[in-house]
Amino acid sequence: MLIKPPDPIKSSEISDPAALLSRRSFMRGAVLAGTAAGTALVYRQFATPSQASRAGEAIAGVLPAAEPIQEARTSLEAITHYNNFYEFSTDKRAVASRARKFVTSPWTVQVGGLAHKPKTFDLDDLRRMFPPEERVYRMRCVEGWSMVIPWIGFPLARLLDLVQPMGSARFVAFESLADPRQMPNIGTTVLDWPYVEGLRLDEAMHPLTLLAVGLYGATLPPQNGAPLRLVVPWKYGFKGIKSIIRINLVETRPATTWNLQAANEYGFYSNVNPAVDHPRWSQATEQRIGESGRRPTLLFNGYADQVGRLYSGLDLKANF
C-alpha cells in the first residue's frame, strides 16, 4: 500500500533531516510549547480578572448638566472596570466581576440623628422625590489617578433639608452596607468594616455635593457603589462612600475609615491639594485614565472657585 505524505516539504526548508525526524527534538518542542502554555494560563489566572460585570438600567428624564466641563469623559468601560471598593476586592480590576451579583433592590437608607424629621427612605421613593440630574465631575483618587465621570443624582442638601437638621447638627456621618454574605472581602481585616465617612455640615449642604444613583445615563453598576453613593468632587475619591445605608446628622466630627486606618496619611478633610503630598507619594500630578503622561493636579480638583470659601482661614496643610 502506498501512503502519501500529507504535507510535501520543500527540500529548501529542510535544514537538518536527521533532526527533523528525531523523536527527541519533537518531544522537546512539545515540552517547550506545553510548559509555556501552562505558564501563560497561570499568568492569566493571576493577572487578568474576569471581565464579567452587571450593567445599570437606563434612567429616564435626566436633566442635562448645566455647565459640563470641557475635558473628555472617561470611557464607561474604564469607569466600571477600575474601582476601589474594598468590600469586594482590593484589586481595582477585579471588583466589577466580584460585585456583579450584589443585591441592590430593595434598598433603604436611614436618615436621622440630630434631625427634626428622621426617616427611613426606600430608594425608589428617593428616585421619585428628587428628579435625576446629570453632573459631569472630575474624580481624583488619592492614589494619583483621575477620571471625568457623568454622574446622575441629586444634591445631598435636598435630602438633608427634608429631614430638617437641628441647630446642634454640625457634621454628617455616612455608613456603607457591610454584608459578609455578599461582599467577599468583609471577612478580611484589610479595613475596619463597615466603611464610614463624614463631612462638615456646610460641605454636605454645598450644591456640588451629590448623592449619585447612576452614571452614563443608567443606574449605578454595583462596582461603582450601587444603588446610592456620595460624590464630593473637590475631595479625594475615598470620601465618596458607596452603597450607603445610613446618614446621620451629628454634633462632633465623625470617624472616617481611612483616617482610622492611617491617621497621618488620610485626614478628615482630604481635599484635593497638589501642595500637600501624601507622606509616601506626591500629589502634584495625576494620571488621567485614558491618557498617557501626567497632568498637574488642581487645588480642590479644579473647584476652588465654588468651594474655596468653605475653607477660608483654614490651614490646609495642618487640616489635610
Binding site: 510548559t35 480590576r93 492614589e143 484589610v190 506626591s282 494620571q287
Partner: protein, 209 residues
C-alpha cells in the same frame, strides 16, 4: 541530569512568558483602565518572584537531594534582574517621564522609592559578576560572599512593596514570609548542617558523630 541545556531553555522560555503576555495584552489594549500602573506592578511582582525562586534553589536542592537544581539558580536570578530593569524603566518612563529633577525629589522624599532603588542597585554587581569568567576571577569564596547580597536585595524589594501598598498587605507579607523561611534555612544550615541536607544524611554519617 546529563543535559542541562534543554531544561535551562525551558526555564528561560517560561520565565519570559509573562513578559510576552504583558506585551501582547498591551498591544491589544487589554491591560485594563490603567495600563501604566499594571505594567509597573506586574514587573515589580515578577522581580520579587524570580529573586525568591533563585534563593530557594539551594535549600530545595539540599532538602530534596536534587543537586542538578543548582544549574537553574543563575538563570532565575538573571530573570529577576531583567524584570527589575523593566520595573525601574516603567517608573522612570510612565511615572516620571524621565524627568531628572522629579526623580531626584522622589528619591530624597519618598522612602519606598529609595528602598526600591537601593535594592535594584544591589542587584547590579550580582548581574555583572554572573558570568563564568567573573566567577573565576573573583574566586568561588569571594563570589559567593558577594552574592549573599541577593538576600538583602530581595528583602529590600519586599519592604519596598510593603511600604507602597495602601492597606492590603497580604501579598508583600507573603513575599516577606517566603524570604524569612529561606533565610531561616540558611541560619539552620550554618549551625545544624546535618538536619538540612537529606542526601548527605542518608549517604554518610555527620562528621562529628
Amino acid at each position: 541530569m546529563r543535559d542541562v541545556q534543554f531544561p535551562k531553555q525551558v526555564l528561560l522560555v517560561n520565565g519570559l512568558v509573562p513578559l510576552a503576555m504583558l506585551g501582547l495584552d498591551a498591544a491589544r489594549h487589554k491591560l485594563g483602565a490603567n495600563p501604566y500602573e499594571f505594567a509597573t506592578r506586574a514587573t515589580g511582582i515578577l522581580t520579587l518572584l524570580f529573586l525568591i525562586l533563585s534563593l530557594a534553589v539551594t535549600p530545595a536542592r539540599k532538602l530534596l537531594g536534587l543537586p542538578w537544581l543548582a544549574h537553574f539558580r543563575r538563570l532565575l536570578g538573571l530573570l529577576g534582574f531583567a524584570y527589575g530593569v523593566l520595573h525601574l524603566l516603567t517608573y522612570l518612563w510612565f511615572d516620571k517621564v524621565f524627568q531628572a529633577r522629579a526623580i531626584a525629589a522622589d528619591l530624597a522624599r519618598r522612602p519606598f522609592i529609595m528602598v526600591g532603588m537601593a535594592s535594584f542597585l544591589l542587584l547590579v554587581p550580582l548581574a555583572v559578576t554572573s558570568t563564568n569568567a567573573m566567577i573565576r576571577r573573583l574566586g568561588g569564596r569571594r563570589w559567593s560572599r558577594l552574592h549573599k547580597l541577593a538576600y538583602l536585595a530581595a528583602a529590600g524589594g519586599a519592604l519596598h512593596f510593603y511600604m507602597l501598598v495602601k492597606a492590603d498587605h497580604r501579598l508583600p507579607l507573603a513575599f516577606a514570609a517566603a524570604l524569612g523561611i529561606l533565610l531561616g534555612y540558611r541560619v539552620l544550615n550554618q549551625y545544624l548542617p546535618g538536619y538540612t541536607e537529606r542526601a548527605k544524611v542518608s549517604a554518610r554519617p555527620p562528621r562529628r558523630a
